[in-house]
Symmetry: C2
Subunit: 336 residues, 2 copies
């Protein structure tokens, strides 16, 4: 029971659309019905959405849970991202954290708040993005519950669950000196895409649409994380330097990244970096939101093909690029 | 990695406070550290907060999950509610949904977004409210993860988990003709509290502070729901009429409420209703947010003392007050 009846004079950026009913016109129940009807279920749901709560299988007697939030004008802009993009990204960023524990994503609950003036097609598009990302990134996983509310800005909060299938979770604290440091997925591409969007250079955005796509619809290597035989792992959301420092601190070790092993990542974004007059290595080292997996492997373990070695674990503390300590370059979700 | 660096000129209602650092001044990491350090853990957490995800025990091989959102100026106002109140209510409304499945609340993840200008004491107070509500309403349950972000308005999203301890969940769909309809907890008191706050009548608010307290810090009868031997149950969040209609629809039955059995609930709020010149029965039948439990019991089952019988289940459809069909009086979280 909200304390105010909804009224809004907001006109959305992209929403000069006639004949499409708004969320306020349809009301909560009908808006939810139209949205939820487009979703896939979860293969792990014993009771799906529609009751006070859902009931999810957790056959090994435990479950993994993580949550992440996306806020309009802080984490995305509606001039850049469609409802589909936002649904996709909300799934990708959360199932990536589940996979970073070595777990298989099983279920999501999704809360979204939108202005009442939002056309229902935005929510339907959002649902399509949720579904497509589940099907492509985490087959079997689906939305099992949620909440729809009114707000001035679009606000999305997702909680994701995973199944360790009898295994122990892969924490940040297990790296040991002598381990190999390796990454699965892209580095710096999401940051390049964001810089392109900020540049406002329509030609550049069009020329490098694959980079912009990584920013808007990241494709984290979920399958590479599930059941991985690693000593530590995390999801690269705030950038290589900052996230590597989290493993170094949690494991009480030093991580050494070899700059020559980053050259392949830099080469992928060199053209775009030159176009914008910036350094591709800054994007590779400091850029966030690739949602790649950074892991350490015991020396006697064969590093899986999805992972590219980029360094090693040593005695000590902090993160080094070759011989030089790396500051914690990266993003703070409050201060930027 | 948010797309904008935080800057805000907002001055909060209650925040003309000097010398207290703001969230923007402290940054995400330190703000989180100060907040999280005040929380209790969960007795069910195998891995608590601090990694990509938490790991929670689910000993019977399944878990219950539900989510709910609270948005400033839609679901609460900062002139009325403290950080403590909001933390308390965020827990109460979510664990109530878990209990409505017959499950024991085990763990919560909490996302909160606040303006950067928010004093850190607001978040600390919020954490104290989360902890106090867990300890009083759902002992053993605690916060196992979360997210802190920047936004113009305060936004709170909680996901709660529960353990069925080997039992089947209690759904909305199990009511049978002949069952007894009963409620545990208050009816109409939260609506009375809200009306008092809206009245702006300081004397009335003070005179009926217990009613205002139910609105700000509801105390749903969690223990009464866990392991209940009921045929159906739900959490009364949108009001007796609207929520009863959900059981009637899901179970394909008719629910008959006896008006004389509501008189005790009305008597509790008659004085406040007269003061505001409204009908106490409207609050009892249509008022939301009491987060009481509405359940149906097979005729051969003794109704537990926490539940007061208010009617019965019959063949048919819809909800009746004595002989008269009740419209779906209540709240829509989008249209009010």
């Amino acid at each position: 029971m909200p304390i105010t009846r909804f009224s809004s004079s907001r006109t959305g950026y992209l929403w000069f659309v006639s004949n499409i009913p708004t969320v306020a016109e349809l009301g909560e129940n009908e808006s939810l019905r139209r949205t939820v009807s487009r979703l896939n279920g979860s293969d792990f749901a014993l009771v799906g959405s529609g009751d006070d709560a859902a009931v999810i299988k957790a056959q090994d007697g435990k479950f993994v849970v993580t949550t992440d939030t996306m806020i309009e004008d802080h984490d995305f802009r509606l001039i850049w991202s469609t409802g589909f993009d936002l649904g996709w990204k909300a799934v990708a960023t959360n199932v990536s954290d589940v996979a970073a524990m070595g777990a298989r994503p099983t279920s999501l609950v999704v809360a979204i708040a939108v202005p009442g003036s939002t056309p229902i097609t935005f929510l339907e598009d959002f649902a399509d993005g949720l579904k497509a990302a589940c099907e492509q990134l985490a087959p079997g996983c689906g939305v099992v519950g949620g909440d729809l509310a009114a707000s001035e800005k679009v606000f999305i909060s997702v909680t994701a669950h995973g199944d360790l299938e009898g295994r122990e979770p892969i924490l940040r604290s297990g790296a040991k000196p002598g381990d190999v440091l390796a990454v699965a997925g892209t580095l710096g591409r999401a940051a390049a895409g964001l810089a392109l969007l900020f540049s406002g250079d329509a030609d550049a955005i069009s020329a490098y649409d694959a980079l912009v796509g990584v920013q808007k619809r990241p494709e984290p290597p979920i399958a590479a994380g599930i059941g991985l035989n690693a000593t530590s792992m995390l999801d690269l959301s705030d950038g290589l330097a900052k996230d590597a420092a989290r493993i170094a601190k949690a494991s009480s070790v030093k991580l050494v990244i070899r700059s020559q092993d980053l050259q392949g990542f830099e080469a992928m974004i060199d053209d775009a970096a030159m176009r914008l007059g910036v350094s591709s290595s800054d994007w590779v080292i400091g850029g966030g939101e690739d949602h790649s997996l950074l892991a350490t492997f015991a020396p006697d373990v064969e590093v899986p093909r999805a992972f590219k070695p980029i360094g090693y674990v040593a005695e000590g503390s902090g993160v080094y690029l070759d011989e030089s300590p790396l500051g914690e370059v990266g993003w703070d979700s409050i201060t930027g």
